[in-house]
């Protein structure tokens, strides 16, 4: 069932449709916000606020070309921009998902790598950051990202290339570990 149909059902009071929308879009929105903000908890705050706004919008939702996915990311992006003005990202200290239960040294190494990448990502200008998160982590195509950012595909490719150059430069001191370079 399409997002637009589900939203019509949500507008009519169907909680099952709301659950489907959450399952379909929450992980990506939450991930996007966590990557951009460099903080899972703040990312979840942004995701929650984004979906509360969707709840309010559902009754007056009108299908358009951009679609729900784009609307959600747009709201989350604006919330992230506001959030970033308030607080800098904190380092990963207790990341269950990268803990190696056997090798403590490997766990420490993974946490170090994740922190380095996260900080490098956080240092990027907002548009470069959004472009790399959408395309590299969220699977947007170049043209989808271009629509989202309201720029041409060429401009998206330019943003992505500059972002990757900056990331490579930021990760260079740890190149052996991170980039596999000698």
């Amino acid at each position: 069932m399409s997002d637009d149909m589900l939203l019509a059902q949500i507008g009519a009071g169907d909680i099952a449709a709301w659950e489907v929308i959450i399952e379909r879009h929450l992980p990506a929105v939450s991930r996007y916000a966590a990557y951009v903000l460099g903080d899972n908890a703040q990312g979840e705050d942004v995701a929650q606020e984004t979906f509360i706004r969707l709840m309010k919008k559902a009754q007056s939702w009108e299908a358009n070309g951009a679609g729900l996915k784009s609307w959600l990311f747009r709201v989350a992006r604006n919330l992230c921009i506001d959030q970033k003005r308030k607080k800098q990202p904190e380092p990963i200290e207790n990341a269950d998902f990268i803990i190696d239960p056997i090798d403590d040294a490997a766990t420490d190494r993974r946490i170090d790598i994740a922190n380095t990448v996260k900080l490098a990502l956080a240092e990027l200008p907002e548009r470069q950051q959004t472009a790399i998160v959408l395309v590299h982590y969220e699977g947007f195509s170049g043209s989808e990202a271009a629509n989202f950012l309201d720029i041409s595909v060429e401009a998206v490719e330019s943003l992505l290339a500059r972002a990757r150059r900056s990331l490579r430069k930021a990760l260079q001191p740890d190149a052996t570990e991170l980039l596999g370079e000698r």
Partner: protein, 195 residues
């Protein structure tokens, strides 16, 4: 990049890899096939790809956080069912007042609500005592045993004019001085002069 399919070149492949990285799935669909073929035939292109693979691997070291159960529950609980449209939405003030209930269950809220209801009902009753013709009408009083019937009085050039000399207007004086008349004997409602 344009919609027109052009032959793949090393420069264009470099642009693709610098922008999208080493994974061909991220490259524009219409250029993907030609780019993969080009890489297979170019050592230089393969070198570009290797550099990009290293950066992709570093980026992938950043774990993908999953939304917590608390977040899911919080958003699920944010669901507010659509408000049904009332059939008698515009049926007036009285219906609105009678439908209204205090949201709080505290005693003083209930008392305040009762006082408001009482005041409104008394106000409605009083507003129906004086008519535009100057005739005093007692109609639909909520407490008829406390209200005396008042004989009909002619309008005397309006109440405002009569009060200029400081005297009590006759229309009001009569109301005050009228001896009390009740229908306590019959137990019936007092008569209501309508004209």
């Amino acid at each position: 990049m344009s919609d027109k399919i052009e032959p793949m070149t090393l420069d264009r492949l470099r642009e693709l890899i610098e922008a999208y990285g080493a994974n061909p799935e991220r490259w524009p669909e219409q250029e993907r096939g030609l780019a993969v073929v080009f890489i297979a035939t170019s050592a230089e292109a393969q070198g570009l790809l290797e550099e990009a693979v290293a950066l992709d691997r570093a980026l992938d070291a950043l774990p993908a956080p999953e939304p917590s159960q608390a977040l899911r529950n919080g958003i699920l609980n944010a669901f507010t069912p659509a408000k049904p449209v009332a059939a008698n939405e515009n049926d007036g003030l009285v219906a609105t007042i009678t439908r209204w209930r205090p949201r709080s269950h505290s005693a003083w809220h209930k008392a305040a609500a009762a006082a408001v209801m009482f005041g409104v009902l008394c106000g409605v009753g009083v507003s129906q005592v004086f008519t535009t013709t100057g005739t005093i009408v007692i109609a639909q009083q909520p407490f008829p045993q406390f209200i005396q019937p008042i004989p009909e009085q002619p309008l005397q050039n309006g109440v405002a004019a009569l009060t200029l000399d400081g005297e009590i207007p006759a229309i009001l004086a009569n109301t005050v001085l009228q001896p009390e008349v009740t229908n306590d004997e019959t137990g019936e409602d007092p008569e209501v002069p309508l004209t």
